[in-house]
Amino acid sequence: MGLGASLAHGQAPNTCVGCHTVLDPPLQVTEEQFSHDIHSQKGLTCASCHGGDSTNSGPEAMSKTAGFRGKIERRQIPALCGRCHSDAAYMRQFNPSLRTDELAQYLTSVHGKLLAKGDNKVAVCTDCHGVHDLRPASDTRSKVHPLNVAETCARCHADPAYMKGYPIPTDQLSSYNGSVHHEALAVRGDLSAPTCTTCHGNHGAAPPGVGTVQNVCSTCHVFQAQLFEASAHKAAFQAASLPGCVACHGNHSVKHPSDAMLGTGPQSVCTNCHTSGDAGFQVAGEMHQKLTSLDASIQSADQLLAHAESSGMEVSQARLEQDQARDSLTKARVTIHSSQMERVERDVQAGMKTAAKTYQEGKDALAERDYRRVGLGFSLLTIVVVLAGLGLMIRKIERKPN
């Protein structure tokens, strides 16, 4: 196959592109396209995959004797890529830290299994990675860069016509695009936020099971998962075959949680299982009430401080302490996953104490403002006295004689 000869980086002549750049699709591969390809940049040529003789610019280059394989069939693509990418010794020459188990993972995936059974519609390596202008995943233009992964998966998975015949929905992308994970990734640019492959795996792509999906969430949401594990809900969910985390927060369209999700109100998730009269219903209501009362305390202290500020008093110290109260509220919103009232109570009480302190500081600021007004009153009084004195003096000096 001439693989050894083509290991000279960038120096092996690749005459194939010379003709193929001017052909029409699907035979077209332009110079420009191929210049972006990571394989080409590392010194591989067309012959590395397609066989044949890349140093020969004539039609003999594509002869059987030269080992030419022509267009690679879809079913054979994973094995072809795997010939290098699963060879650790070979890959070490280029990038020792690259994984070499992609093919093995792929064979465990839904895509891999269906392909083995003869389904040619499923994704193979080139569908996601591209083929002749294949960029590394760290390149923002790559189809498998974290910011682009969802679009790449959606090319098939959001196409109802293409997905006809498969027993899975096609609304994942639209659900995901409304989620807080999408916002973190695409809007705030946080590359550590999850996209499709974060939870489903990339090469070994398969949906996590009902019993294990919370393990996936817990890789990032550690505290909530730990609290949930130790809570009464864990056993209850298992018994009811409910997926942890997903049952309340959803899987693709995970929205920013609100205090209204807790409790017994119309947007509550607790009432999906709990009904009026059972212990859980009560606890849910109490927890909700605790959180909202802490939130209200913080807000009323905020308002008072804002009022003091707009009266000209400086309250930046109190504002700093308000952050601590907000910290407590954030912690309480995590602690509810334990479904234990005492733990939530502790965090809420800490927050209430701080909020009460800052509220008092706001009142002190307003009292100081009032004290200033009293001082002003005194000054004005002396001024009025002086004005009266001046007025009388003027009158005295200028009085007409009797």
Partner: protein, 153 residues
């Protein structure tokens, strides 16, 4: 307006006017001077500078210890490593703005809200924080530990 001077004024009237005017003038001048004189006295805290703050005293922290100090309008974290080096970082977590703390068992900076972890150079190494913590410079001046930051001017 009357403009002629009057040669004779009742003494009591004159006294009243003089007292009123003199007393009023004195009181008003005092009420103006009092704030000015108080103003001239420097306050106890001489600095609310944006750039520099005394974060603590030498000897206040034990090795592998830390404290939170106020830097401008936000909290900062001052820590003394086990090897005796001072480090100062912003204490506001870059995830959801909780106040971070130093974990002397992990030798890392930890955020209790969602388990974020930063190394002692402020780099976010684990958990949700998307950005590193701002790092400040620390100098020891006499017996004071002074924390400064570079600002665009």
């Amino acid at each position: 307006m009357n403009i002629q001077e009057s040669p004779r004024v009742q003494p009591q009237r004159r006294r009243l006017v003089e007292i009123l005017l003199g007393g009023g003038l004195l009181a008003s001048v005092v009420s103006f001077l009092y704030p000015v004189l108080r103003y001239l006295v420097p306050p106890a805290v001489p600095d609310l500078g944006g750039d520099e703050v005394v974060a603590g005293k030498v000897g206040e922290l034990k090795p592998n210890g830390s404290k939170i100090f106020r830097f401008g309008n936000r909290p900062g974290l001052l820590l003394l490593t086990a090897e005796g080096e001072y480090r100062a970082l912003s204490a506001t977590c870059t995830h959801l703005s909780c106040t971070v703390q130093y974990r002397n068992d992990l030798h890392q900076v930890w955020c209790a809200c969602h388990n974020g972890l930063y190394d002692l150079n402020g780099r976010n190494v684990a958990g949700p924080p998307p950005r590193p913590l701002e790092v400040f410079q620390v100098h020891v001046r006499g017996d004071e530990v002074v924390v400064t930051r570079k600002r665009e001017s």
